[in-house]
Symmetry: C2
């Protein structure tokens, strides 16, 4: 049973694509690590990179990427619409398989210590790796951005977890751990946007719903439908079927049918097997009973 | 995307366990093939062996197993409760992933030709590989068993697909292709066995139900429940959720709840993903969106 961790660093470069290639190239060099995706946004001047593999390889790939980004990106010259504070701006580790959140927190600490010591870059641990409650929230860690943090980094409240209280050209980095996120959208057979908005408000944590669901009601004008667009940020604690069953009940309350759904991007296998097990009311089912697991030993 | 085929040969030896080990050992020698299970029954004097891997490897492993079994087992001396006609009695190929039924039929033919030519063993192709409708049914192919076929093999109707019309000590072999089978049981919150029997009768193909479902109503006395015990012989054409939904509706008709279910043994991943997709009403979902598929490339 192989351990699998996902890592999704965001770098502050989305225009000089040769530089992006060079930085991404560092990830490709590490054996046992699979580059899943990278996409650059010129307006944001930022690139999101996704890779995956066994913990040691992923740690090494993240380190190499950070070293190269620090060498190639100068925050003093960086402009873009997306808030940022460092060459590698954020670097979260996500447990995918046979890995605990604690192990991902440990990876974040290891990487943070090395980045602080060897690169002299200020490191803030965030989300599940945070050492202070207020640092769980990335927006709070990044408040003031590169320019603001440069001024305030000497204050006790901005003291980094690792590295110096001085911002160089590479800025600061937020390293953390979080559960995998699933983008799950449910479509309703109505054009009444108010219904989608009301259901979204009821399901999202920020307004009294499920803590691990972020939701918006949106219009799908071309299809004559409305949609509850969700980010499920912890599908182990708050599974996909729970969102579906809640929305089915609410839609029925409004006399509206659930027409269909979509998952945008990737989804962990266990999130889907949890759905199948729930609806089949499976009792003692073990995911080791999946035939392919015996062959591919994952 | 690796191709995966499963093979489940049954050999006519379940008492001399050293011989069983020697025969199973042939499978272990083939690289890229994973031995999933083997279990011997002394009363039946028979062993069921399950292995899996890429088509070429599985073909080679099946061939080696048949060669060794022909060398070690003498049907003239074999006694056991289970019907049998050969040293390796049956050898079905099952498509698991990225393999069509036609490719499994082709494997059956290739293996059959080699066994007929090189080992001089009469070969009958059965189930999806059958060359005559009456040979689809294994019981029909094996009618009369070793002793009876020895007498009748010269008749036109018993002419083998490959090999001589003569039975040696290794007897004859049925080689075929079939879909994977899932053992799926659904429990009802009642002690009334008549209800389970009535629902089983309604769902099984042999009495007017779904062609790919075999079903029995059984008592779970210790748990105070009854069970519809099913063999789902083609979960692509007749998925698990269809059985669940049909039984839920029938149980409701009798005023009885569905309490839970179980899958005994292995289940192909796609059968489970089909369930999750159905209940989430997923539209454009591709199984390539499963995160682990990117890592393990299965």
């Amino acid at each position: 049973m192989a351990k699998v961790v996902e890592c999704i660093p965001n770098i502050s470069e989305g225009r000089r694509l040769d530089v992006v290639e060079e930085i991404v190239g560092e990830v490709k060099k590490v054996p046992g690590v699979t580059l899943l995706d990278y996409s650059s946004n010129a307006d944001h001047n930022r690139t999101v990179i996704t890779f995956i593999g066994e913990p040691e390889g992923v740690l090494e790939a993240a380190w190499r990427l950070i070293v190269k980004a620090a060498d190639k990106i100068d925050l003093g010259r960086h402009q873009g619409e997306h808030p940022r504070m460092g060459a590698t701006d954020v670097c979260p580790f996500v447990p995918v398989r046979e890995v605990t959140m604690d192990e991902c927190v440990e990876l974040a600490r290891k990487l943070g210590e090395r980045v602080g010591q060897e690169l002299n870059i200020p490191v803030y641990l965030y989300e599940r790796a945070a050492t202070r409650p207020e640092r769980r929230n990335l927006a709070e860690v990044r408040r003031g951005q590169y320019e603001g943090i440069k001024e305030s980094i000497n204050t006790p409240e901005r003291k980094p977890d690792y590295g110096p209280s001085v911002m160089g050209k590479a800025g600061a980095i937020a390293i953390g751990a979080r559960p995998p996120l699933v983008a799950f959208n449910i479509n309703l057979g109505t054009t009444n946007l108010d219904i989608a908005k009301a259901i979204a408000k009821g399901i999202r944590g920020s307004s009294g719903g499920f803590v691990n669901i972020k939701a918006l009601g949106v219009e799908l004008a071309a299809q004559g439908m409305v949609q509850i667009s969700m980010n499920m940020v912890d599908t182990q604690a708050t599974p996909l079927y729970r969102a579906m069953e809640y929305i089915k009940a609410e839609a029925a309350h409004y006399g509206v049918p659930v027409i269909g759904s979509e998952i945008v991007g990737l989804v962990p296998l266990d999130s889907m097997l949890d759905v199948a097990s729930y609806y089949l009311k499976l009792g003692d089912f073990s995911y080791e009973q999946i035939l392919e697991k015996r062959v591919f030993r994952f």
